[in-house]
Amino acid sequence: MTESGAAGAVTPVPSEPDGRVFGAPTTLRFALLALLFVAAGAGLSVQIIGAVPGLVENGWGCLLADGHNPESGTVLGTPEASVEGSSLAALRACEERYVTHTEWVPFAVVSVLVLAAAVLYRALSWWMGRRLLEVEQVDPDGRLRRDLDDLVAVAGLGVPVRFAIVPGMLRSGAAVFGTRRRPVVRVTSGLTVVHRADPDRFRAIVLHELAHIRNGDIPVFYATLALWRVFLVAVLLPAAGMAAYQLTTDQYPAAWHIASLRVFLLIEEALIVVMVYLARADVLRTREMHADLTAVRLWRMSPDELHGGRPADAGEPTGLRRAVAAAGEPWRRHPSWPQRRRVLVAPDALFGTGVLPMFTTGLIADIFANQLGTLLPSSVSALGTIRILLAAGLVTAIGGAAVRRAVRYAGVRNRAAPSGWAAGFWLGTGLAVGELAAESASAGRWLLPHPEAVALLIAVVMLLMAWIAEYTGLRAGARRGRTSFAGTLIGIAPAWLALAYALSWWGGNLLVYGWRYNVETALRVLEVPVDHPPLFARITAILPEVLPNTGVLSLWWSPALLWLLPLVWARPPGLARIVLAGLRGGAAACAGLLAGRLAVDTVRTLHGSIFVGAELSWILIVLTGAMVVTAVVVAASTPSCPLISALIAAGVVALTGTLGAVLQLVFSGCLGPADVLMAGHCSILPAPLSLLTLWTSFVLGPAVVLCLGAAAIAQAARRLSRRPTRTVTRADAPAGTRRRFVVAIVVTATVAVVTLDTATTAEPRSTSASAGPLLHSGPPPSPRTEKLQVNAWASYGGVDLINRIHTMDHTTLIDVLTKIGRAGGDIRSVENRLVPPACTAVIKLARDADRYFLIPVAAGRRYWADAVAALDDAARACHRPARQPYAALLAAFWDVVNAQEAVDHLSVWMGRGETPLGAQRFVAASGEYQPLTYHGATFRFAAANLAVRHTGTGAGRVATLDAAACLTAAPGHTTTSGDLPSLGDWRLVFPDGRRVAPVRTHPGDVDAPPYPAAPTDALDATGDCVAGRVTFGIPAAEHGDPRTVAFASPQVPTVLTWRPPDPRSNQIDLLGATRPITAGDPQGWTAVTGYAVHTAGPNHDHIPPADRLATITVVTCASGVPAATATARRPWKLLLADGVVAFPVRSRPGDRSPDPALYPNGRERVGPRAGCRSGSIPFDIPAADTSDTVAIYYEAPHVRHPWRLTPMVP
């Protein structure tokens, strides 16, 4: 570390401390900048790569498809961010399939960046060294060379220094570059003139440059510069360009989940640029002042020499110029001359903890930690811990070193030591601002619900800096003016680890989204249903959630170092008194523990439920309470080192109390009323280790931080109360202390407000069942997020599955069924060859669909659930015994058709397809038996219910025909079933002459028709008949509707045909009877009260003109079935005279309801028919269909017997 190196290099400690005595903490700040470039290079490069469409997939889409809500205020990928119905298995499968493995990218980028920076580092040296002249070229008499050599000898650098001349440059300046071992001082021609005209000034300038070399500024500065330029050109500009491009083009690939994040990316980059520039300029200014000091103090140069004889107020602006200069100061790389002069006279400015360095350090460290997540992901806990340790280490080392320097400088100067509050405040504010910015960016919104929660973070940093100040003061008192690397490390390490602990706690809690613990849910989990639970019960319920993780990596033990280290290493004055106070507090804690039984009994049974965990809760309450009270008392009564004294006392309380609690557990059952565990008999038990670990982790971890905060407040209160009587000995004291009081009050008030605010806003919130018992779920997704989620669902496999369902229906199964139907000879072997692969495909499809995400948005989820259920049915049908392979496949086919209907609905809902029912057109024909006598037998053939179904995608259509062929033997003849013509002899004839054969032609093996009308309903197939539904697969190339149904059999000498009649419209009215919905449920019934058919006019935008619209008016009074089921309109169908079945459609003009399953305009009834709903259900009757309705069907899963109502024609 800089401090020790500097201290070692300086032999005599001058009476007036210069900047090098305590080291300049700027090397660490340079290191922080360099680390930021590296980490941000890795982080941003991954973002750039992720934003290139189609290049890589980072898994956002899978998370969205799973229903994760980026706006929920939680980190995507965590359980809290998901919603009900998310599937971890589907998520993993999606990630497995889509996510590109880019883990190597950040490491490759970092390697390239560092390599490029190394090349640039050398190139910079070369660039600055070109076109320079050697001193000898301009120095004929050798005077310049002699003087330069003399100055190098004075400086005693130990490395050869090369001087070079910039020809023709009139400024009297110089600059250093090169490398640490081969430094070069570039001297302008102007300075060579000054060499003779003003030798003192020449000496000052050259010595200043040599001081830069001595202070090791060259490698640090140029390495940072090289890294910065590489980072700027190779990472920052491409990232900004990418974000800006995406903003203007408004196209976001799935990898780029939220549009607004691009804005945040730009802001983050701008923030990095500004912060880096400010921090670098600040560090450079500090380095310049240190170079001045080095030249003046070590090489005995007078400030006036350096100053060049300017008057003391030279360059000191006044009025408005002063304000402008002050505003411009942070951006300058060199300090203003007045400031340099002030530092030369009294270097106080170098030993302060300035606002800007602290703030930029905090902010940059936070950006660094966040960007480092790409290299060290938190998903691996050890890496996450390392990341936090790094960030906390940089914050503490830079801030802590500054505080330590300030304290030690004040000690040397005999001034009041700074408290560290201000440094902590600005450091913490930087950290908090970075944290807020990062959270805003990851949540994709500007305002977080509770930004004030970061005050806790600020408070923790302030407390830790105050601790460092106190500890440094203690140690400095013991070892005046001397320090070592080990000493610095020891003085900072506890605060470092404690900050890392606080940061890891902070990262896991994210209080900016609101208080995350819900007492009522916690009580419910404990099965204690209480309306107004006592405070003790509330604490007990919530405690398991706030207890720290007891793993070593969670650093719970680190706050204990805050009191252990001073106790053994730097004993504060009055240690005996402090320990005594701690012992008293411990005794009080033990007394409280003995009363535990009483307290626990008050909540042991609440409303008859056993309340568990109260014993542990009591121990923690008593120990923490005793620690906090002791800390407050000690802090308020100790004038010097109040914080450390209070912590030591609290630590003694923790130790004593823990010992007492362990004894109480060990002797459980022997203490009578003082027993806390309900042990049956007196016996010595080993204390349960898990319990011990739990409370130890609490009293050594969070409780210590609480004590630190309480002690700080007590200290502030004490100072406030004593202030009027205090003797002010130093002129600068009152302003400083007043400021500290104000800061203390502000912080205390803020922490109190935040705590109250978060605690009070917590209670009314409800919790989501899936989000863990105690965690609040985030807000519901916005419509935009829902759209993104549905799009992701579709993009990451949903559309694939939909297409597969269509293909399965139209191509695969129909193809197989047709092939089997056309097969001659050994049908069975064909079946055995073709059906198993088809069934395997069906089963695989069903499995894939089942394993895929449910649609994240509830409104669409139902359709997908229907499809999945139908596919499940199909898979089950395919699992039937192998003796009926064709029947199994046909059943599966119809189930797939149902699945397809569901995904058609889904497509409409997603805005991806046409109206599914509008795309299904039924053309129909009715047929009568046509008798034919042949070979001494009478054949009768009939066909009905020709239905052609368009299924939405244009991949083909399905036609079904109910057909029958009956044979009556003439007297004296006998017939066998083999005499019957095959059903496969039916053909559909299209206007273009194409004839389409059925997909199934095997007589006697016709599967039951899947949909309500049995063929015998339409065709009276009495006698020796074959009858059934014949399925035709109409190829996609065939666009027309079948014009004719033809029957041609080898056994029949003629071709029978029949055509459908022409369209027409009609209107009829009827009143229907009531029918029970469910068997044995007298209350639940439904009735059709009206029926009308009218020709739809051109105004009906949902129905093409010349189609007809039939409506039935329905009343349903349901009991025993959910209203949504009872009033579903899907079970209703119209059977037209030609056998065609019409389905309900969403076709009421103006009816935009996305849910075609419910009565569209249903109303709740009041009065005698209370509880009933009524509404009208529209049916679309295609133009091609001219038939009247012959029946209204009602068939639903909950209805035992489907019923049928015949409308009466008036």
Partner: protein
């Protein structure tokens, strides 16, 4: 300008004049002159005219422009030379030639000083005085400088060389 003036003083360059004058009245600037001789005349002129201040990182940070004789002489003489110059260097072809030379990194031709007649010498004297005073030089010193420069230039005439 006649041909005599154009080629009259091919052996004497501006830098020689400056060196002589500086050695006489401002010897502390001799290293600057020595450095300038390492540059091409055009480059040297550009650098002397450059007055921008740069905040060099790891520099001293408080760089001043020292009052110098060299840039004053250079600027004044160059002005008069330019005035004397014909359109030889004007025109597109000449400019292209200059540009090409730069690209090919060919050295620029040495610019010989033309002959300074009495009117030109008067003009030089006047400009040196003006510029020196503008640069902050005391009037007496400026006057001295002006006469030194004019004297030196008068000594570069062809008749001097012929003798």
């Amino acid at each position: 300008m006649d041909s005599r003036a154009a080629h009259g003083s091919a052996d004497v360059e501006l830098i020689d004049v400056i060196r002589d004058v500086v050695a006489d009245i401002a010897p502390e600037e001799l290293p600057l002159v020595a450095a300038l001789t390492q540059l091409s005349p055009a480059e040297a002129g550009r650098r002397l005219a450059r007055r921008t201040s740069r905040d060099d990182p790891l520099g001293f940070g408080m760089d001043d422009f020292v009052i110098l004789v060299v840039p004053v002489i250079w600027a004044a003489v160059q002005e008069v030379v330019n005035h004397l110059a014909t359109s030889a260097a004007d025109g597109l072809v000449a400019r292209i030639r200059v540009r090409l030379r730069k690209w090919l990194r060919r050295p620029e031709p040495v610019a010989p000083l033309p002959h300074f007649g009495p009117p030109e010498l008067d003009e030089v004297r006047e400009r040196v005085r003006e510029l020196a005073v503008q640069a902050g030089m005391e009037p007496e010193r400026a006057e001295l400088l002006a006469y030194k420069v004019a004297d030196r230039l008068a000594a570069t005439g062809p008749e001097k060389r012929a003798t």
